[in-house]
């Protein structure tokens, strides 16, 4: 089946899948967003424990999605993996440090004799949810704005600036991307808490917080979209990369489906916020989750299609990466495409388990009765 598809079709299929996995990860970052709200929403330790316990049942999913995002990039676009990770070294390393901190914090936070103390683990969770997410946003932003790398005829690559990727934090578009993700994660966290926890105080404060974060998110997101539509990008023809003005606006216009998914996703997120704040809905997370997946998938699909480089080089345009020059072979992409057929099954059991675990909302009594609470 997949073996008969053209190489370009497989490359596009895999860019779409990578975009989808990236989008799923962004949806799950409500876990990270929640980690930054532990003190804003909970007023005492008991409430904080509830928030942590609620997030603690989902945190592995955010970790696993990030690993899969990396793994899928490695398998499908190994040159991108090599160039970006080996070049923007400090950015990726900083992201990794933020995620090491997350992994242990849930389990160790309230355990007796935990060496670093509860507040330290809570600080770790905050760092992961703030620095970690903003840096991931900056790293994703560089897919649109480019990186400072060169590669030779053997495809060995090197970064041309000693800041190894940190310079990406000086680009306003990348920063807007990072901050949009950060506030989106907090918006979704508030929606998740409202959906998941049965506690009037927590719900009331989550709503107040949602209002503030939603305003900031909308502000940064509008800024991001405006910059995206007016910025100049790059295109390629017969392997030669050259600049194109308003590249991403052109890509939107060339692919109406992307406009539809982007706009409907945005509307779903806005609806989720609106219905939670003004109509008392507690199901906002499902609307916003679906919306986020549509928006982020369509944003990442602006790259990879319509002859757009997935990673332009600011140092040497000819070194820029496209889905065509950075992908795995036809054979590997076909094999991996068969494996990808397992993804709906995975999503199916995640949904099943989520429903089974969350069919009754979390209460303080439940946390107190649980000997293994976080």
């Amino acid at each position: 089946m997949f073996g008969t598809l053209s190489l370009l079709t497989l490359q596009q299929y895999w860019w779409f899948l990578v975009s989808l996995i990236g989008a799923f990860f962004v949806f799950i970052t409500f876990v990270q967003g929640g980690q930054t709200l532990l003190y804003a929403i909970a007023k005492d330790d008991k409430q904080r424990n509830m928030l942590v316990a609620s997030l603690g049942r989902k945190w592995e999913l955010s970790f696993t999605s990030l690993v899969l995002f990396g793994g899928a990039l490695f398998a499908a676009f190994p040159l991108f993996y090599a160039v970006s990770f080996g070049g923007a070294y400090y950015v990726w390393m900083a992201i990794l440090f933020c995620f090491i901190l997350q992994a242990v914090s849930y389990e160790y936070r309230v355990k007796p004799n935990n060496f670093l103390g509860k507040r330290t683990y809570e600080a770790f969770l905050y760092i992961n949810g703030s620095v970690g997410i903003i840096l991931i946003g900056i790293a994703l932003g560089t897919l649109f704005t480019g990186g400072n790398f060169m590669r030779n005829s053997m495809n060995f690559s090197a970064w041309t600036l000693p800041s190894y990727g940190l310079e990406g934090a000086l680009n306003p578009f990348n920063v807007a991307f990072g901050l949009s993700l950060f506030f989106l994660a907090r918006v979704q966290a508030a929606l998740y808490f409202i959906n998941n926890i049965e506690d009037v105080h927590i719900i009331a404060r989550a709503k107040q917080q949602l209002f503030k974060d939603a305003l900031l998110f909308v502000g940064f997101f509008i800024l991001l979209v405006v910059m995206l539509l007016v910025m100049n990008g790059f295109t390629y023809h017969m392997g030669v990369v050259f600049p194109e003005s308003h590249k991403f606006l052109n890509n939107f216009l060339a692919t109406p489906l992307l406009i539809v998914t982007f706009l409907s996703g945005t509307l779903l997120v806005l609806y989720a916020i609106f219905s939670t704040l003004f109509k008392g809905s507690r199901c906002g997370i499902w609307f916003s989750g679906f919306g986020v997946i549509l928006v982020v998938t369509s944003l990442l699909c602006l790259l990879g299609f319509n002859a757009t480089p997935i990673y332009p080089s600011l140092s040497d345009l000819a070194s820029s990466l496209t889905i065509e020059n950075s992908s795995s072979s036809h054979y590997t992409l076909s094999v991996m495409s068969y494996v990808s057929l397992g993804v709906p099954f995975v999503l199916g059991y995640i949904y099943f388990v989520w429903r089974a675990m969350d069919k009754t909302k979390m209460t303080s009594a439940e946390i107190e009765a649980d000997s293994h609470h976080y």
Binding site: K111, P112, L116, N155, V335, M336, M357, H372
Partner: protein, 508 residues
Amino acid sequence: MDHTLLVELSRAQFALTALYHWLFVPLTLGLSFIIAIMESIYVKTKNPEWKKLTKFWMALFAINFAIGLATGIILEFEFGTNWSNYSWIVGDLFGAPLAIEGIMAFFLESTFFAVMFFGWEKVSPKMHLFSTWLVAIGSNLSALWILVANGWMQHPVGMEFNLERARFEMKSFADVLFNPNAVSKFLHTIGSGYVMGSLFVVGVSSWFLLKNRHTLFAKRSIIVGASFGFLASIFLLVTGDESAHQIAQSQPTKLAAMEGLYDGKHRAGIVAIGQLNTNKKIGDTQDEFIWSIEIPYALSFLGFHNINAFVPGIDDLVLGNTTLGIEPAQSKLDKGKQALEALRTYKEAQQMNNVPTQEEALALFRTNESYLGYGYLDKPEKIIPPVALTFYSFHIMVGLGSWFLALFFFVLYFSMIGKIGSKKLLLYAGLFSIPLGYIAGEAGWIVAEVGRQPWAIQGMLPVGMASSHIDEVSVMITLGLFAIIFTALLIAEVKIMLKQITIGPEEA
């Protein structure tokens, strides 16, 4: 540019991460099955004591699992950050198992982990048990895929070099998946995890028995731990034999280093214990050992399943052995350089659009392709890994593995006849064998990875060509930070674990 320091620092960083990772993974692999067995007994007997038992070990499992995840994600990304040339050259083969690991194993583990810990009151007992088994299966599936990737590095199969793109490409997924080296590596590695999990259960239970606390709980646990450990030790012995057999076929330099064998011989014996002569040089006439005790014929048998077989030594592999048709390393280096030169010519001719030169270069490349990696080495003796580290690590691993088999046997025997509680010496031995299990596991990985040097991919890509082009200071900084963070988290993990054990099953 001499980038030896960069490569050494990158290796140090990867080794540090891998060694820390391996402090946590074996317990996850082994304990997950032991917990699943305990919970199965609970669901079958409905005896709440077994539920308490399950929950106690599960709590310890979770403490360990979290930090295993943290170190694991770093390893995956370090392929890109520190080994970017490697990631490009073999990404077509190596990335696939990693991605499959994510899709097939990680989601299974992480999704059902939540049910296993928080779902006692939310799903039916059978569904809960099913989730516990899925976590165990997910952990082991994850080991399968990463070891398929590692096995391929030890014995690359199923690929062809693509000159246009200057990289290896996959030609047969089945060859990569069923690579005999990968299969034996997977089985041996999960076996070591089962032994480690069992040692942990036996050791902690021994402590309870020595302290005369929770004795019924400890006796129940110790019998499950020792039974599982005894079976796992036999499994480890069998798969170890198969691993050595595979190494003899595909990595003769590693086998020679494991045994400190310089002068190859027919009917070669295994040095059971010995002290290496550190002044010994390749090709000289000095003895390899200052003293040693040898088991006759055993190495020939282990490596080739034939007591008369010839086992090549370091001298044969470096200097060659014309009688037995072993090619000198220098000849391999020369052919490798020809392959590299042909590759360069091919790329230049491609740019000039000179088709005849391209075809000529391609033919020359294909003739010498299998020596490609040797072209990057400057001296023949570079093909030999560090002998002392490989030799001693191997012997520590085997010695401890044999000890664990004996330990499980005696613990099981005295548990069955109901006298384990009075065997103080054996209980102390059980307790102090926990750290020995970690030492054996780490030693095993040192044999596998140090013994593979100088190769990132055996015969194809030396580590010197695999690293990223970054400056040494950056790697020094991250290496230092990793060392601090991992150590701090390890201290936290051990302190929490000890506290939880002291609290005991009642409050767990």
